[in-house]
Symmetry: C2
Amino acid sequence: MTSAATTPTAANLPKVELHHKDHRNYPHGVAFMDGQYLPMSEAKVSILDWGFLHSDATYDTVHVWEGRFFRLDLHLDRFFRGMERLRMKLQYSRDEIEEILANCVALSGHRAAYVEMICTRGGSPTFSRDPREAENRFIAFAVPFGSVANKEQLEHGLHIGISESVRIPPQSVDPSVKNYHWLDLVKGLFDAYDKGAETALILEANGNIAEGPGFNVFAVTDGKLKTPAFGVLPGITRQTVFDLCGELDLSVTRGDLACNELKNADEVFITSTAGGIMPVTRVDGVAIGDGVVGDITRRLMDLYWKKHSDPSWSTPVLYR
Amino acid sequence: MTSAATTPTAANLPKVELHHKDHRNYPHGVAFMDGQYLPMSEAKVSILDWGFLHSDATYDTVHVWEGRFFRLDLHLDRFFRGMERLRMKLQYSRDEIEEILANCVALSGHRAAYVEMICTRGGSPTFSRDPREAENRFIAFAVPFGSVANKEQLEHGLHIGISESVRIPPQSVDPSVKNYHWLDLVKGLFDAYDKGAETALILEANGNIAEGPGFNVFAVTDGKLKTPAFGVLPGITRQTVFDLCGELDLSVTRGDLACNELKNADEVFITSTAGGIMPVTRVDGVAIGDGVVGDITRRLMDLYWKKHSDPSWSTPVLYR
């Protein structure tokens, strides 16, 4: 190819085609947008949507396990709170969104699903730059359940690398509004890979541990649990650990977690809707405790999965 | 609607449709993706692309004025530098991208165009969560030229509100990598609207002025220009002001710009590819200087637009 812009001879312009042809693979699943249920290959957003162009969006992710949503109410609470803080408004009620999510799962047929609900700023029908004039947009989808840790990592524990990347501070973006601003986390991930680790933790502005790409972290020392308090997403699985600690009579606090405190802990685990409670047995190449999955971590993991069939923690999906 | 998830009776599931129907309006223009030139209504990205889900993308915007790209080389330099810093790689060379951008403009027919080139992380063909395994993706488009300031604001000056929102700091996201992390700027915009202003400036972590949604800012005091140095996008129009100041023998510095320094300046203007050099005559409801567009601002605006036909600053688009 030569440059048409710099070679001023008669240009043969290519044709504008009517329809986009996309040869990518998409996971099996069902999405909802604009009143339609669609295969994942059709679930696309305009590159002019401010959810893409300005990452002006909030979302939440809930999972389905053995045909049951886990703690759907807490995820819906957070999603609606996030929209309110971003001054977004949808034409769907909470009940309607609950039904749409259930329909996506049922239509997908997945008994173990990763389900996402998204509200983007959308765009203005008159192409105004004013976000107050935008029509906000709702998208939902259900795809197969995914986990930060694979089977082997769930058994033997993850190896985490600590990056110097600093999590976007609350003065810039409210971390309680679940958002797609991930470049700090992606940088952390590359830093961790460079160290030979499998995933990353990044810092908050004061140099303490914040969180990782899509997960919170807990350290267990002398039988007591601690998780970062400042500048992190108040994760639903993190909240679930607080609740499980209540049932198991374990002490858990929110506070500053220094890097050394984490490295010298007896046990470490991470929490995410994508995988639940997942053990960490190495940090920056050094074993945590005995280098095996700890007792308290195991007890919490067991109780976490047991709760998935408890009707007060889960809701059945009607598949037909 | 009643909730299928909470009403366990026989559910009539809706149908999964084959194709997405989209009744939105799109601006006239031409996009390029996956080897095709397409109308803007077809330019859509999968909701699973990490450019959307993680705002893991970089981009650049160049404009065409009277059929000529303005300083395209500088925009391409920054775009390629950004991709390198994010560890992204495209299958297109710089010359090929230049040709694609020119084709988008020529096919759109627009003599005044806003042209964007985007690289997203894309996704992994095996649905891995590892960004190293992603196939990065290139998208470009040309739509009608747009401006932060409308005609009346260009004549009489904008009214800007200063928000307490803090621009995402460089320790979190490298501001020299042009990115879509805008929630801090969008918050600033809502704050400014609440004060009755037309657009916003937000702060850097030390409380000085940083930048606004899509623009840099300059203050003129006693004939000397100053623009924030820390934590801001090194804008091409900002760079152009430095270059024009060289030609006009004006003094310009990069440094901390306190809120009061801005408010007490003789002249204020903002700079963006979307509109060029645009005057500001009110900040937080108070007039800047005499409340009219200043002399130095006018001289810079005039020279800025004059440069658009200068072959050493611009490149012609071949329309057919």
